[in-house]
């Protein structure tokens, strides 16, 4: 199996407001995600799970350790090469959608490909939006879409460049249960198509739909569970408090 992501001994510290000793949020975490695998990261609030995702995705620079995406060590990359790697190998889905409000749904979906100077056929974009059930909303701008629709556009955008790994930060956090299930089905579809998915969530039902779950406690890996149930995850998270 090919590794989509391999992180070894990740640490991350943030300086405090008063300039005193830095606060260490991650204490040497190692994570590996295979291509075609869906991994969820759970843990109590403040355990460092979102910081871990940002470090793995190159949105934050880790203080220590190494991160490789599709075999490329991100720590050694310049900002320009990291941007290229982001376009070619990574997709992002956030709780707050983070679509560009001035662009239509279709333009948002095609953006990473356009940034990579790739010719984009309208039919290609249309197919991507249809795959998430939004084929008829291609010309709508994000403010006129519902939360669930915006999240589906974000997933279509993440999938459009066929990334090696998709990072999802609380992807169902702002959605109702029904819409959340649709989004999770789509993320499972991403995995089935061969991309890896790393999802941070506080929703244990959502986390249980992953192939593997990592429970974080105080910036360290507390437990790993393969094909967990929501109950097992609940017990693990409670034990991590």
């Amino acid at each position: 199996m090919t590794l989509a992501l391999e992180a070894i001994d990740i640490t991350k510290s943030f300086p405090t407001d008063r300039g005193t000793a830095a606060t260490e949020v991650l204490h040497g975490i190692s994570v590996a995600v295979d291509a075609g695998e869906m991994v969820s990261v759970v843990g109590p609030s403040g355990s460092g799970k979102s910081t871990l995702l940002y470090c793995l995705a190159g949105l934050e620079r880790p203080t220590g350790g190494t991160v490789a995406i599709a075999g490329v060590d991100t720590g050694s990359l310049s900002a320009r090469r990291l941007a290229r790697l982001r376009r070619s190998s990574m997709g992002f889905v956030f709780q707050s959608y983070n679509l560009i409000a001035s662009l239509t749904a279709a333009q948002n979906v095609a953006l990473p490909a356009r940034l990579a100077r790739r010719q984009v056929a309208p039919a290609e974009v249309s197919a991507a939006l249809s795959s998430v059930g939004l084929g008829d909303l291609a010309d709508e701008k994000p403010p006129s879409l519902s939360g669930g629709q915006q999240q589906r556009v974000a997933i279509a955008r993440a999938l459009f460049s066929k990334p090696d790994i998709l990072f999802a930060d609380e992807p169902t956090g702002a959605l109702d249960a029904g819409t959340g299930r649709v989004v999770l089905d789509l993320l499972r579809g991403v995995r089935d198509a061969g991309s890896a998915v790393l999802m941070v969530t506080h929703d244990l039902e959502s986390a249980a739909r992953a192939d593997r779950s990592i429970v974080i406690r105080d910036g360290r890996v507390h437990r790993e569970l393969v094909s967990p149930t929501a109950e097992q995850l609940f017990d693990a998270v409670m034990a991590a408090r």
Partner: protein, 442 residues
């Protein structure tokens, strides 16, 4: 409440700094016509007094046009950019009327402090400045220029009055902010269409009457020829929400979006922004158009005698320096105030995999599109002034021909682009937050 207001001030610091800069400039700019009026009042020679009052009236009209457009644009921008804060105030239980009162109170307080500082600056330097600019003008070079504290304060009071009048409808809108729609990412357009149509129609009627009376006043110099431009600018500014988005869409389509992703992004952003507010474009329009249309009017009428217009820039600086400076500062302040949105847009592009150069170019194109749109509007107005004067005066002066002075428009546009770029990129130097911090609003 005070804690809330203080926290609010620091949270939206750039918005308040931009507004304050505009108000200080406005207070100082009004000092020039105030100095002219007070100097005229103290003048004993009737002919000199009438000459001064004539200059003062032109300066006052142009200053008022600039004040009304720039201050109302600034107030509108400030309220638009703070809608999220108003939504949060409403959601924690504040009454809509309380929000309106606070918004009006905040704006009035900032207007009083800013215009007072501007008035002090005017009081300190305007008499000497006006005196220097009058040197060499026929009959007015020996005038003793004065500006008392009372007149300077009166100028400041005029600025406060314009701000309060502009702020009242905006404060009401702030109180009726649609909370849920806004917090869920929706946006609303706030354009008072009927009022704008009425104002535009009245100003166009005024401009038409100024054109129509040109033949009668031609023998005495057709003094209104230099004021037609400012009146048309005011009319076009009040109607701007109707046509600016379409204008941007049409002229920017000249460059195909497929040519450059940064151009594509900038174009989409400016069109989207213009659909919500045309304030940025309008301020640049005033900055470029005031001086340009004034000179077009002056030179076109002067062409009837074949005489060259004096190259002395001092009279122009006297009449237009303050209003043009105010418009330029207003335009740059508008860009600065909106820079928090730019930071977010930058962060979103970063996540999408845009390189730094793409993000920088996008911001640069955006500023350029704003200024170029304003320059197109100013060029159109200048052409209307030049050809309108020719149409009405040609029967009396066959040698009269339209003088478009394109170089002046170009120079004005270049200065505005530089200002816009400074206002766009200066906040980036102080940006310390990471992409994630910007996106999460922390």
């Amino acid at each position: 409440m005070l804690t809330l207001l203080r926290a609010d001030l620091f949270a939206d610091l750039r918005v308040w700094i931009g507004t304050f800069a505009v108000l200080v400039t406005a207070g100082a700019a009004v000092g020039i016509p105030a100095t002219l009026v007070e100097s005229a009042v103290h003048e004993r020679d009737l002919y000199v007094q009438l000459g001064l009052l004539s200059v003062a009236s032109i300066a006052l009209v142009i200053s008022l046009v600039s004040l009304l457009i720039v201050l109302s644009s600034t107030v509108r921008t400030l309220v638009e950019l703070r809608r999220r804060a108003f939504a949060l105030w409403l959601i924690v239980g504040m009454q809509p009327s309380q929000v309106s009162v606070i918004v009006l109170g905040e704006l009035t307080a900032v207007a009083v402090v800013g215009s007072a500082l501007g008035s002090v600056i005017a009081w300190a330097i305007a008499p000497a400045l006006v005196g220097a600019l009058l040197v060499g003008s026929s009959g007015l070079g020996e005038v003793t220029t004065t500006l008392g504290a009372g007149s300077a304060a009166l100028g400041g009071a005029l600025v406060v009055a314009v701000v309060v009048v502009s702020a009242i409808p905006r404060a009401r809108e702030a109180g009726s902010t649609p909370v849920l729609a806004l917090l869920q990412g929706g946006r609303r357009r706030t354009t008072r269409l009927v009022g704008r149509v009425i104002v535009c129609a009245l100003l166009l009627a005024l401009a038409a009457s100024m054109f129509a009376t040109l033949p009668q006043s031609f023998a005495t110099g057709a003094a209104q020829s230099v004021l037609i431009g400012p009146v048309l600018i005011a009319a076009a500014s009040s109607a701007a929400p109707f046509y600016v988005p379409g204008l941007v869409r049409v002229w920017t389509s000249v460059v195909p979006s497929t040519r450059s992703v940064s151009w594509f992004l900038a174009r989409a952003t400016v069109i989207d922004s213009a659909q919500r507010s045309s304030a940025s474009v309008v301020s640049f329009y005033v900055a470029i158009g005031l001086l340009w249309t004034f000179l077009v009017g002056q030179n076109t009428v002067a062409s009837s005698t074949g005489g060259a217009v004096a190259a002395d820039p001092r009279p122009l600086a006297l009449l237009l320096g303050g209003p043009t400076l105010l418009a330029a500062v207003g335009a740059a302040a508008g860009v600065l105030m909106a820079s928090s949105f730019r930071e977010r847009e930058d962060a979103l592009l970063d996540v999408a995999g845009a390189e730094g150069s793409v993000r920088t170019l996008t911001a640069a194109w955006e500023a350029l599109i704003y200024v170029a749109t304003a320059a197109i509007m100013a060029a159109t107005t200048a052409a209307v002034v030049a050809f309108g004067l020719t149409l009405f005066l040609a029967p009396l002066a066959p040698t009269l021909s339209p003088q478009l002075v394109p170089l002046l428009g170009f120079v004005g546009a270049v200065v505005c682009v530089v200002l816009a770029w400074v206002a766009t990129f200066a906040p980036r130097l102080s940006r310390s937050g990471s992409t994630i911090e910007v996106l999460s609003g922390s």
